[in-house]
Each structure stands twice: as C-alpha cells, then as structure tokens.
C-alpha cells in the first residue's frame, strides 16, 4: 500500500466521524495553542526586559558596596555585618580612571515633597550632573543638576513630570521652591515624561545633588556608583581597574562588587528564558493529555472497526499496513490539531500584543517548532498501542461476527 493511499484511507475514516475528529483535534489545538501563547508571553517579557537594559546602554558598570558572588542585593545587610561604605571620594576617584567616560554616585530614598498645602511621597535620587547622560534621561525644561564638586549640597532639585504636575498643576514650576524633608530646594529643571524605565518611573522621581541627599538621609555612604565606560570592548578592563582602585582605597580589602550591564543582561536573560521554558513545559502537559485522549479514541475506534480490520487482513494487508493505517489516522489528527493550535496561538498572541503594546509579544520559532513536533510525536506515540492492537487482531475471529 502506498503512503498516499494509506493517508487517503486514514483521512476517509477521519472525515467519516467529523465530530469525533474535530474534538480530538481541538484538544490537540488547545495544547499547541497554549504553548505558543505562553511562550510568546514569556518571550515578550524577556525581550521587554532586555530592551529596557539595552536602553541604558550596554557599556555600563554598577559598583555596589559589599562582596557578592551573585548579582543579588547587598550582602552584609542581612547578616548585620557592615562592610566598608562607598563614599563620594570613591566615586570621584573612579571617575578619574582611564577608560571611564563619566561616573555618577547614587543615593536612593523616599522622601516627602511638598509645596504649600500639597504634599506627596517621591523617590529621591541623589546624584550629580552626569546622571542625566548615564541613565539616558531627557530634560523637559530648565537644567539638570549643576556640575561641580560632588560634595556641594546645593539646594536645587529636578522634578519628574508627574511630580511637577501634581505639585504645580498648570502653573510655572521653574524657579519655585519646594520642601523636601526638612529642607527647601529650588526647582531648576523638569524631566521630560518618559514613563517606566528599569523598574521605576522617572516621572515620579525627584533628583537632588548627592551631598544634599546624604544630608537628608543622614548618611555618608552611597547606594551605587554608576560608571559609563568608553566603548563596550573596554568594559572588562575598566571593571578590573575599578576593583583594583577600590581595593587599594579600602585598605586592600576587596569589599565591593562591580556588575557589568552585560552580566545583568545575561542573568535576566537566563531567568526569563528559564521561566519561558517552565511555562512552555506546563503547557506541554496539555499536549500529553491530548495524546491520552487520542489513545482512548483510537482504542474505541479499533474495537468498533474489528470487522473492517479483519477484512483488510483477509484482502491481503499485512499487519504492518494495518498498523500504519492507524498511525496515519493519529498523525493526521495531530497534524490537524497542530495546525489549528498554531492559528489559535498566533491569533491569541496577536490579540495580546494589541492589548499590551509595550510587550513585544511574538512566539519564538523554537517554541512553535517544539509545540508542533511534540503534538505529532505525542499523537503517534499514544496511537502506537491501539495501532499495535489493530495489527495483531485475529482476522478470522474479527470476521466471524458482524
């Protein structure tokens, strides 16, 4: 029996039971579709995060206090052990290193910002003029923090667009005074609205000189030093020199951690890829369930078509042909389901993409290929037992009864 005839015969018996065929194919479709949609979502999240990082520039080094093997939070905080602080002079020394384009110290905290009767809690960023460039922020009006020695606590601030709108509404904000904590600051600039960036919304931040922030939070230490390296290829060398410099400055104690943006990127990439895989795996379980369904239906089908199978054997079909016929049926159903699932999944991904335009939702090719392959393999695998049963059927017995 030629393959074409086998497929034609199998197809004939499938369309003879359209409802049954459609229902199994639907089960398969749901499996394939969910793999496609969920991986599309996972992949969308991964690409979103990566794009966010990339928007910060990939030649960025982040220096944080404390020694950490991984890129987690600052160690020592949990154990109660205090490591040597990062200080403003550390930041200034780093900025003078060869290969460093600019460096900005960073202190972050939450503070009450008020003007007249209006008051609001805001994320306070203490930094220097270089922060604007390093974080790729854009200015709406006025100036950013003034250049000059970083230890100068000039009482000026730059408001995020949302803060400005809430405190000043339609009125003019530039040159006005606001109260942050127990001090007064003059507004010298407004950031352009740019929304969410790397987990926090710059529209809802207030930037002040780092020295002023340290006074407000009553601390000498820094939260981070952000370092922009000249050129991406210089990143590893600069990382080493930063580590060496801070080691000498900290009495030969290597107590800081330098994270490269690439490392962060790679870590997030790993985490999100693992997440996508996990989600895809869970969705793939439904493919297994669909496979069991195929097995069940094929077993019923073999029982119902005993006389047909007996006939085929009497007409000269060897067991292998009978087995192939039933495998072909399962394969066709699976293919049908996979095709339906692809359409379903792609349509759902498209709709989700429309719903959340921020996420670059697109099912990765490997996931689509894997879903279709798994569907076909599961279908054939679970059909093996019924097909074997059909092939082993005793033709004389099967034909004896109607």
């Amino acid at each position: 029996m030629t393959l074409r005839d086998t497929l034609a015969l199998a197809w004939g018996s499938l369309i003879h039971q359209p409802r049954r065929t459609l229902l199994i194919a639907l089960a398969m479709s749901i499996g394939v579709g969910s793999v496609v949609v969920l991986t599309a979502l996972g992949e969308g999240a991964r690409r979103y995060v990566l794009e966010q990082f990339a928007s910060l520039g990939t030649n960025l080094l982040i220096v944080l206090p404390g020694r950490a093997e991984t890129t987690g939070g600052a160690p020592g905080v949990l154990s109660g052990q205090t490591t040597r602080d990062l200080t403003l002079s550390d930041a200034d020394a780093v900025a003078r290193l060869r290969g460093v384009a600019r460096a900005a110290p960073l202190n972050v905290g939450v503070a009450q910002v008020s003007r007249g009767g209006l008051s609001r809690e805001a994320v306070l960023l203490g930094s220097t003029a270089d922060m604007l460039e390093i974080r790729h922020m854009r200015l709406g009006q006025g100036r950013y923090l003034p250049p000059g020695p970083s230890d100068q606590a000039t009482p000026v601030c730059v408001l995020g667009e949302a803060i400005r709108a809430e405190l000043f509404g339609a009125g003019n904000a530039l040159g006005e005074w606001v109260r942050i904590g127990d001090r007064r600051f003059r507004v010298i600039g407004i950031l352009a609205a740019q929304g969410q960036q790397m987990g926090f919304n710059t529209d809802e931040t207030v930037a002040v000189p780092v020295a002023a922030a340290q006074q407000l939070f009553n601390t000498e230490s820094l939260f981070r030093i952000l370092v922009e390296v000249r050129g991406r290829e210089a990143v590893p060398a600069v990382k080493e020199s930063v580590l060496a410099l801070l080691k000498t400055r900290h009495e030969n104690d290597a107590d800081v951690t330098v994270i490269t943006q690439d490392a962060v990127l790679a870590t997030f990439d790993r985490i999100l890829t693992a997440l996508t895989l996990a989600v895809a795996g869970i969705a793939a379980i439904s493919l297994g369930v669909a496979g069991v369904l195929i097995m069940n239906v094929m077993l019923v089908s073999v029982a119902q078509r005993r006389s047909e199978i007996g006939l085929l054997k009497a007409l000269g079909a060897p067991a292998a042909s009978v087995r192939l016929l039933f495998l072909a049926e399962a394969g066709l159903i699976s293919a049908l389901g996979a095709a339906g699932g692809l359409i379903l999944g792609l349509a759902a991904s498209f709709a989700l993409g429309r719903l959340y335009p921020v996420l670059p939702i697109a099912p990765p090719l490997w996931a689509v290929a894997a879903a279709v392959t798994t569907a076909l393999v599961a279908g054939m695998l679970f059909a093996w037992l019924p097909a074997k049963r059909a092939a082993k059927l005793d033709a004389a017995l099967a034909l004896a009864r109607r």
Partner: protein
Amino acid sequence: MSACGGVVGMIELDRITRGFQVGDQLVQALREVSLNITAGEFVSIMGPSGSGKSTLLNLLGLLDRPNSGTYRLDGLDVTGLDEVAAATVRREKIGFVFQFFHLIPRLTAAGNVALPLVLAGVAPSERKERVARLLADVGLSGRADHLPAQLSGGQLQRVAIARAMSMNPAILLADEPTGNLDRATGREVLALLEDLNQRGTTLIVVTHDQEIGARAGRRILMEDGRVVGDSISPSPSGVPQGRGFIRGSGRGSEAQTSANAESTVPPSPPAPPPRGEGSKP
C-alpha cells in the same frame, strides 16, 4: 507446472488438525483432514454448526494456521508462511466472500472494490479502469458511486464479489454467501459465482443451503471436525476435472471460451482480464 496437467490439485491438505483452547478444554475443530481440490473445481462444504466448516475455510484462506499437518497451495507449502508472506498469498491468490458482505460503509461501491488493488499498491489510473470493468462484470456499473447503505442486499454481495475478484484470485472462498439474502437474490448471486467458476476460478462455498450444496460439482460433508462425505457428481455444466484442465491449459485461451459458450449462464460474459504473473506459476 504442477497444476498444468490437472493431476495435481491446487489445494492439498494433508492431515490438518486444528484445536482451540476453550477454558481448560481443548476443542478439536479439525481432526486430521486430508483433502485435495483441483484447480477450477466448484466445491461445497456442508455440515452442522461446529463441524469445522468455517475453521477449514479460514485455514484455506490462510487466516488461520493448523496445529499440525501440511497445506500446499499450487504445489507450494504455505503451512509455515510468516504473516507478511501469508498476506501476500491472500492478496494474490485468494478472494473472500462473506455472509455479512463486510463492505466498508464509508467507501462507495467502487471504493470497496478498489480496496484490494489499493492494498496491492496498484496505481490509481489502472485501479479506476479495473474497478469499472469489475463492476460491469457484476452488472453494477451504474452503482459505482453508491454507498453500501444505498444498495440492496443482492447488490452488496455483488459488490463484495467484484471486490473478491479484483486481484484475479485463483481461488474464491465464500462463507454462506447467500445466507443473508432472500431466495431469488441468493440464486442470482450463486449464478454469478458459478459464472466465475465457469471462467476458471476455483470456488469453495461453505453453506447450510441444500440447494446450493447440490449445485456444486463436488460436495464435501463435514461432521465433528472430519470429512464424512465427499461426492463428485456431474454438475449442470460439465465435470470439474475438465474445468481444471481448461484452467490449467492457460487462461483466456480458446478452450476456456468454448467452456463459457457451453455454460448455462446468460450470454457472453466479458473475458476475464489477464492474471498477474504471481497469481499462478
């Protein structure tokens, strides 16, 4: 070769025994049955239920295997053939007709007749031609596109016979071919089978029907797994040995045409298509 002289039978059974395990009891369906059937014979097998008729027919059709004994088909020992080889022999040499027709309900008459050709891997274009001829032979040209549900019992059995003949088998095995038909339709179907037999096909019919049994050139009576009667009588259309000779001397030959002319069957049945090389050495 062996069949050419008409001396050696197409079918030789030598002390065939077949038993079935039913619970803890061994039921002997066939006890040392030895039987020679010559090419072109029309044999009826009769006997009470459980006498082993169907088991014998299944063995002849290679759907079952004996526990002991030898079965030679066209001089070839087919007793120990493996599953694939047995399927090939069935496809090439044996046609089956069943009491319950066993047509596939979702396939048209033409589709059912084409089934053995499909299994044999015959090309679609050739298939179409041969199916049209086979349906014409059984007088159902106009019903090619009908589904089994749209056909009468007699028509169903004629489709089944066309299917059985589609590979030009040397042997036609019929299990109660008229058992599910009324008398008149049964006679039509029997006439069709006899016509095929006239044209050289060995016809073996298992039946309960005395009338059919009587029409066969050779009547085998079975009881309790044994052949208890085997009588050859001149049938309405000549002696079986003669037909065997004609068949053996080559199909489509003058001799066969003359045999057809003598037959009681209505005028000029179309000559059978040439057999495949494998069907008869």
